[in-house]
């Protein structure tokens, strides 16, 4: 009987404690603020321009964009990134040309133009801001 009571009490304590412990571990990015309190605003940072480009962190990393892209638009009708980064203009504009892989379609055939699978530049390439990391990163 004693054992049963002990087990029940232990179970109850566990049941109360477990969620408490978990909620301490999983803190949301917005902090411990209540929902009716406004979270602290992050300081606004401009996209940076880096002369000579940003070094890759690993071999096959899509290069980061070393300039601001606020004025650039990518849509069904237009892709303003390709005004400079295409085959014809990149030399004149002193911009790197898009990689070879960007001309290949899904069957491995080489096209003369940017392949549609690579059309949305910002899926892989992103501009950078000179700001501390929001989350610690040991990569």
């Amino acid at each position: 009987m004693k054992k049963v009571i002990l087990a029940t009490v232990a179970g109850a304590v566990m049941m109360i404690q477990a969620p408490l412990a978990m909620s301490e571990e999983v803190a949301s990015l917005r902090g411990d603020n209540n929902l009716d309190v406004e979270a602290q605003m992050f300081e606004k940072k401009k996209q940076v321009q880096v002369q000579g480009g940003i070094k890759r962190s690993w071999d096959l990393q899509p290069p980061s964009i070393p300039h601001d892209i606020e004025k650039d638009r990518v849509s069904l009708q237009e892709n303003t990134c390709m005004r400079c980064h295409n085959k014809e203009n990149h030399e004149k504009e002193k911009a790197p040309e898009i990689g070879e892989t960007h001309y290949k379609d899904r069957d491995g055939k080489t096209l003369t133009k940017l392949s549609s699978r690579r059309y949305f530049c910002r899926q892989c390439h992103t501009p950078q801001a000179d700001a501390p990391a929001l989350v610690e990163n040991t990569f």
């Binding site: 321009q49 002369q51 300039h67 004025k71 638009r73 849509s75 069904l76 009708q77 237009e78 303003t80 005004r83 504009e93 002193k94």
Partner: protein
């Protein structure tokens, strides 16, 4: 009727005609100028949904609408010449736009996109032909501080700035490079512009 009396009547008639002419002139000329000014406002331009729903929305994303200091270009600043004779010429051409408004040539988003290339090409042609006159109402090579521009832009502007300083004719005009800065670009614009020599 004595001759003096007749003369007086004639004088009265002449001065009445003159007065009437002056008043009519003021009303007509004033009315003409007033209507020119009225149709030269952004409010008038975006009273048509074709302009309000398409190009005006696109303008709002750009630096010509929103920027650090809040200086702002409105539709007529770029699309209607400031000088009188060119302004009237453009206004007369605009009657074609009224005709197409009645036809409904671009009254849906899809129709607008289909027609965008034609419209863009004609505007680029106009700007190239007048050496981007409307850009130059505000932008001036001689006043450009290349130090404050980004290196790429500064490099490209540099020869033109020196040409302008020396009073030489420009070899290139703004619209040659700066297409699609205030509105979205039409599909296939690059090939079409090359073909048209723009």
């Amino acid at each position: 009727m004595t001759p003096i009396h007749k003369k007086r009547v004639m004088m009265g008639f002449a001065s009445m005609t003159l007065l009437f002419g002056i008043v009519l002139g003021i009303i007509l000329w004033g009315g003409f100028n007033w209507s020119l000014a009225m149709t030269n406002t952004e409010k008038f331009c975006i009273s048509c949904h074709e302009m309000k729903d398409n190009v005006y929305q696109e303008l709002q994303e750009t630096v010509h609408f929103t920027n650090r200091t809040g200086v702002r270009a409105t539709c007529p600043d770029c699309h209607v010449p400031k000088e009188w004779i060119y302004k009237v010429k453009r206004k007369i051409q605009a009657s074609a736009e009224l005709y197409h408004k009645m036809l409904g040539t671009i009254d849906t988003k899809e129709k607008f996109e289909d027609y965008r290339l034609t419209m863009a090409l004609s505007e680029w042609k106009r700007m190239k032909a007048n050496d981007s006159r409307e850009c130059r109402n505000c932008h001036n090579y001689v006043s450009m501080d290349l130090e404050k521009q980004q290196s790429r832009g500064a490099d490209q502007h540099d020869p033109h700035v020196w040409d302008a300083m020396d009073g030489k004719d420009p070899t290139q005009t703004c619209i040659d490079c700066h297409k699609g800065i205030a509105h979205h670009l039409p599909k296939g614009w690059e090939e079409a512009a090359k073909k048209a020599g723009l």
